[in-house]
C-alpha cells in the first residue's frame, strides 16, 4: 500500500479527519432519521389499529393516511 496516500506529505491527519468527520456525521444523521421514520410509521399503524372500524374508514378517506399505510406495508 502506498503510504503517501495516507500521509499526504504530513497533511494526512487534517485531510482524513475532515473527510471522516463529514462522513460520520452524515451517516449518523441518516441512520437517526431513518430510525425515527420507521418508529413513527410503526406507531402510526399501531394507533390506527386501536381505532374503531368507522373511525378507521373515516381516517382512510384522507389520501395521505392511505399513502402512509401503503408505504409502510411495502417496507
Amino acid at each position: 500500500m502506498n503510504l503517501e496516500i495516507l500521509f499526504m506529505n504530513g497533511y494526512g491527519i487534517y485531510v482524513w479527519s475532515s473527510f471522516i468527520f463529514t462522513f460520520v456525521v452524515c451517516l449518523y444523521f441518516y441512520l437517526k432519521t431513518k430510525k425515527t421514520l420507521k418508529k413513527l410509521e410503526k406507531n402510526f399503524i399501531k394507533e390506527t389499529e386501536t381505532l374503531s372500524k368507522i373511525e378507521l374508514e373515516n381516517l382512510k378517506k384522507q389520501k395521505v393516511v392511505r399513502e402512509i399505510l401503503v408505504s409502510h406495508s411495502k417496507n
Binding site: V15, F19, L40
Partner: protein
Amino acid sequence: MIKYLNPSYIFNLTGKILNLVKFFIIPIIIVGIIFSLFLSPKDYIQGDVVRIMYVHVPAAWISLLSFGTLSLLCIINFIFKIKSVTLVYKSLAPIGLTFNVIAIFTGSVWGQPTWGTWWAWDARLTSMLILMFFYIAFILSYKFIRDPINSSRICTGISIAGLINLVVIKYSVIWWSTLHQPASVNLTGETTIHISMLIPLSVMLLAFLLYCALIFLMKYRIETIRVKKKGIK
C-alpha cells in the same frame, strides 16, 4: 398547480424520489471520494491539504442555500399560510445546521495548517458561526413553541434576520480584510479554480445534494406522519 401542493400527492412523490436517490447516491459518493482524495492534483502552495476543500466548500454552500431557501419559504408561509410549506422548512432546517457544523469543523481543520490557527474571529468565520446560532434558534422555535401562529411568526423573524447575515457572509471577504480567501467559483463572475479541481468539487457537490435530498424526503415524511398522528389523537 393545486395538485402539486396536495400533501398526499407530495407524500406519494417523496416515496418515488427517495428510491431514485437511494439508487444513485452511493456510486456518486464513491466517485467523488476517488476524485477528491486520489485523482485531483495538489495545490501548488497548499499541497495535499487543499483536498479539504472538497468537503468544506459544498458543505458551506449547502448550509447557505438551505438557510436562503427556508427564509424564502417562511416569508411565503407568513403571507399565504400554506401548510405544506411549514413541513418543507421544518425538514430543511436540520440539514442546513448539519452542513453548517461540517463547514465550520472542516474550515477549522483547514485553518490550522494554512493559517497556523484552528480559529480566528475573522468576519467570514464569525458570520458562519452566527449562522449556526440562527439555525439553532430557528429549530428551537418550531420545536418548543406550541402555538403554530406564534411559532411561524418567530421563525419568519429569525429567518429574515438570518438573511441579513447571509449577505454579510457572502460579502465579508470583500468588505473586510479577512484570513479567508475570496470566492474562487462564481456563477456570475470569473471562476478562478482550475478544471482539474472544479470537476471533483462538482461531483462532491452533487453527492452532498443527493444526500440532502435523501434526508429531506425522509424528514418530510416524518413531519407529515407527525401531523397525521396529531389528527388521530
